[in-house]
């Protein structure tokens, strides 16, 4: 008996010892590798001009092929684009030296620089540009080039892009679509990208990390940071890794942004990553979606209700209370972008004004239950939100609280997207969008976009707005289109925002929050689109390491 006990104990202890030995062995071995190779020094220890580690998510599981949508946010790293947006979102040349749009708006002629070469040494010509656009139009990825009829190379440095219809937003394809080499764009391209961008791929451990190195053949200024390691981990792990000093840039949720990390500063970047309440615009049971789901809601079909909600909400309180101050009030779909109409903004947090609007429209609390009614209909609706999104949940709950004093009863319910989809044309839903591409605004409000899915889910329809949006889309250039995009928001008489039809109650724009090493200068950031993380890389070739 005694002997067996002892043996068991010894056995257990030896296993424990063995596992301890293995665990404590690992850190020492990291140091030995560091000695062998100074480059490996930062195997997660600290940053330098040689190498920084970023934990900002954004892995593209299907690889790094722009014709499938890679590079639609932030830097495409490996490839370069014809145009790009600078920190003020103004359009500037990259590969292109000039571009013109024909009078009918259908032919875009782009001339490109002649000194660009791919990372394999081959020159980049107009034929590659034409190939990239034609390929993207056919490949069924996340870049929408369906308006392109054909792209043809006129000579080595000139390419004609011929559209089926004029489309002012087509310029966004010139901004996001990285040019791929026709000679090396095969089946394995997405995992071995070759391009003319500032960086080239060294190694991609799928699901873990992407290691890239400065491309010596890059035609622009060689990036000052030699090597970038993108760590693909969840936000919580990113924060933990930043705290351990293993990463130099970490994207964190607003709730973690209030913490401090030694040696790092918090950077909060304004974004157009918005959250808002979508109202069903039509009365209940006016029609059905192609899938047979109900459309319309009698309460939110009343303009007075939609306007009252917009005026009653205290957006700054939402920013302070829910986003910890890392955000800003949103009054329209593009608040903060260059094509925002500032006149459309309202003075909110005015429950008295909201009550007036309701009273004028004939909503009154006759039975004294605190909820106004009109023709026997209570001012009551349900706000749906994605159940696992704590920010949307808090926004929905806080909004419902703010509407109570006005006499509007908002019931709040969390569901998954699959459950929300059949209900989203007849209930109020917390949605979040935000893009540098105005196509989004078009699809949010254009009457024909409403086809029973997320585009114009509320079935908003106003002929005047439709024609303004058509003018914006058909304008030959973004600069000319901007006037129409603004007019669609509010032109003094009509618009989609509160003073007009109040089709949505936009609530807030989230700030994107990052912990960044004090030694790292990331320059000036753009107003970022929806999608936390990757957009910060837009100007990554200009980042600098300021310590020795």
């Amino acid at each position: 008996m005694q002997r067996l006990k002892r043996e068991g104990l010894i056995k257990g202890l030896s296993i424990l010892l063995a596992s301890c030995a293995i665990a404590s062995c690992a850190p020492t071995s990291t140091e030995t590798t560091a000695d062998n190779n100074t480059d490996q020094n930062s195997g997660g220890q600290s940053g330098s001009a040689e190498q920084i580690v970023l934990a900002i998510g954004g892995e593209s599981e299907e690889g790094y092929d722009p014709t499938l949508g890679w590079g639609r946010y932030g830097a495409s790293l490996f490839q370069s684009t014809l145009l790009k947006r600078d920190e003020n979102l103004d359009i500037v040349n990259d590969l292109a030296t000039d571009y013109t749009v024909s009078e009918d708006g259908k032919t875009w002629t782009v001339t490109i620089r002649s000194d660009a070469v791919f990372s394999d040494g081959e020159p980049l010509t107009a034929a590659d540009v034409a190939y990239t656009f034609n390929r993207a139009a056919a490949s069924g990825g996340l870049t929408d080039v369906t308006q392109l009829d054909q792209a043809t190379a006129v000579d080595d440095t000139t390419v004609d892009l011929i559209l089926k219809q004029p489309q002012s937003t087509f310029v966004n394809r010139l901004i996001t679509l990285g040019i791929v080499p026709e000679h090396a764009h095969g089946e394995n391209y997405a995992r071995n990208p070759i391009g003319s961008g500032p960086y080239k791929m060294v190694q991609w451990d799928e699901g873990q990390q992407l290691i890239v190195e400065a491309n010596p053949n890059y035609y622009g200024e060689v990036p000052s940071i030699q090597r970038l390691v993108f760590l693909f981990v969840e936000e919580d792990s990113a924060f933990a890794a930043a705290k351990a000093g293993q990463v130099q840039v970490a994207a964190v949720p607003q709730s973690l942004a209030v913490q401090t990390i030694e040696g790092m500063t918090l950077r909060d970047v304004t974004s157009v990553d918005n959250r808002g309440l979508m109202f069903p615009y039509l009365p209940a049971n006016s029609k059905q979606t192609p899938d047979g789901d109900p459309i319309g809601n009698d309460v939110t079909a009343d303009l007075a209700i939609r306007q009252a909600v917009n005026y009653a909400i205290d957006r700054q309180a939402l920013v302070d209370g829910i986003l910890e101050g890392y955000g800003s009030p949103a009054y329209g779909p593009v608040t903060g972008l260059a094509w925002e109409e500032p006149e459309a903004n309202i003075e909110d947090a005015q429950p008295e004004k909201a009550k007036e609007i309701l009273a004028e429209a004939g909503w009154a609390d006759g039975d004294g239950d605190g909820i106004v009614e009109k023709d026997g209909l209570d001012a009551e609706f349900t706000i749906l939100y994605k159940a696992d999104d704590s920010i949307r949940q808090a926004l929905a709950l806080a909004t419902a609280e703010m509407l109570k004093p006005v006499g509007i009863q908002a019931n709040v319910e969390g569901k998954s997207w699959d459950d929300i989809e059949p209900l989203m044309h007849s209930n109020v839903v917390v949605f979040g969008w935000g893009s540098h591409d105005q196509t989004e605004m078009y699809n949010l409000y254009y009457s024909q976009s409403a086809q029973g899915d997320y585009n114009n889910a509320g079935y908003y329809a106003a002929p005047a707005i439709d024609s303004t949006l058509d003018l914006a889309m058909g304008a030959p250039s973004e600069a000319e289109a901007v006037a129409y995009w603004k007019a669609a928001q509010w032109d003094g008489e009509q618009g989609v925002t509160t003073k007009g039809d109040a089709a949505w109650a936009w609530l807030v724009n989230l700030d994107h929050t990052y912990f960044i090493d004090q030694c790292l200068d990331v320059g000036q950031s753009q107003v970022e689109p929806h999608g936390h993380g990757w957009p910060i890389t837009t100007n990554i070739a200009d980042w600098r390491w300021t310590c020795d």
């Binding site: 873990q208 981990v233 969008w433």
Partner: protein
């Protein structure tokens, strides 16, 4: 003459055995494929919408149609199934929607990462489970036995992902002796990853995974050993003055080996299932993580591929257990010969 006849019969027996096994495997895989296709057709997740995600507003209906066409989603389910079956017969498992890569390549890459973890977990849980089971069975009722039972019951009733999270918090976040994620340290090229770094990243997920198996095997082994210890022949051995250790060694061990082996191989399926959760928690890029992504994005080719693969994996495990019986237990071997 007699020996040759015997040999022929044995070959025949083996051939029938193999044919039966293969037939069953084929039927099983077929059923699995049909079930996966049908179940996924009931899934509310639209793969095209899952792929587009938050870019919904920038992707026109035309582009959505091109995406659906690229994946053949414009075809009805039965025609996709037939297409898939036809391709499978030619050895092509299709292309994964999520990874834009042949399914066989995805599975091969991912399984390489998972295999080491599964192997360590499997050996650890088998070895420790058996050891703990024997110790607590032999010393039934003692404090050691109580301790082992407490441990086993606690872990048997604890969800895998919860145990994984606790271990991650303790070892990686608080004590910082284990890495937070991944299969290698960040920024290190794969050819420069040392064996120790590799093990360092592998060990915690593997141990977590083994912990689940230990409880099951330990409890079953314990129960079986207690049965043996109460038998007449053990009483007889005791009466002859045999020591406890020798009784366990000569009478107990052999009798509990068969159920232990059955359990050990049957635990392959549990390990495989557990790896889905453990890999998710530890951000370990193995087959389990790919399974989650395939399911969340309705990636039918990949999911069917993985389900196929796991069915094959578990089936092979169980067959190995079947084959091990006659090797270990002469009674089964002799009975088989007596029949023929």
């Amino acid at each position: 003459m007699e020996a040759r006849r015997k040999g022929q019969i044995q070959i025949k027996v083996i051939l029938v055995f193999v044919a039966q096994k293969l037939l069953r495997l084929g039927l099983l895989l077929m059923a699995v494929a049909v079930f996966t296709f049908v179940l996924l057709s009931f899934s509310p997740i639209d793969p095209v919408q899952a792929y587009i995600g938050a870019d919904m507003m920038q992707i026109s209906a035309d582009q959505q149609a091109i995406i659906a066409e690229r994946w053949g989603l414009d075809q009805p389910l039965w025609s996709r199934f037939l297409d898939w079956l036809g391709q499978l017969l030619q050895g092509n498992m299709g292309t994964s929607l999520v990874f834009n890569q042949p399914v066989s390549v995805v599975i091969a890459n991912r399984f390489q990462a998972s295999l080491q973890m599964l192997a360590i977990a499997w050996f650890l849980s088998g070895f420790l489970g058996l050891t703990l089971g024997i110790v607590s069975g032999a010393l039934a009722g003692s404090w050691v036995d109580r301790l082992v039972r407490l441990y086993a019951y606690t872990l048997a009733s604890a969800p895998t992902f919860w145990v994984a999270l606790l271990l991650l918090i303790a070892f990686a976040v608080s004590w910082k002796i284990a890495p937070i994620c991944c299969a290698a340290p960040p920024g290190v090229l794969s050819q420069n990853v040392t064996f120790w770094q590799h093990l360092h990243h592998l060990l915690l997920p593997a141990i977590t995974l083994s912990i689940i198996g230990i409880a099951n095997i330990a409890l079953h082994t314990r129960q079986k050993l207690i049965e043996v210890m109460q038998s007449d022949y053990v009483l007889f051995a005791l009466a002859q003055g045999e020591s406890l250790w020798n009784i366990v060694r000569y009478h107990g061990f052999r009798n509990i080996l068969l159920p232990a082996i059955t359990l050990q191989f049957a635990s392959l399926s549990e390990l495989f299932g557990g790896s889905v959760l453990v890999e998710q928690v530890f951000a370990y890029p193995g087959l389990g993580q790919a399974t989650v992504q395939a399911a969340l994005r309705s990636d039918i080719p990949l999911l069917v591929g993985i389900v196929f693969f796991s069915a094959l994996f578990v089936y092979t495990g169980n067959t190995l257990a079947d084959l091990a019986y006659p090797v270990i237990d002469p009674r089964i071997r002799l009975r088989g010969q007596a029949h023929s």
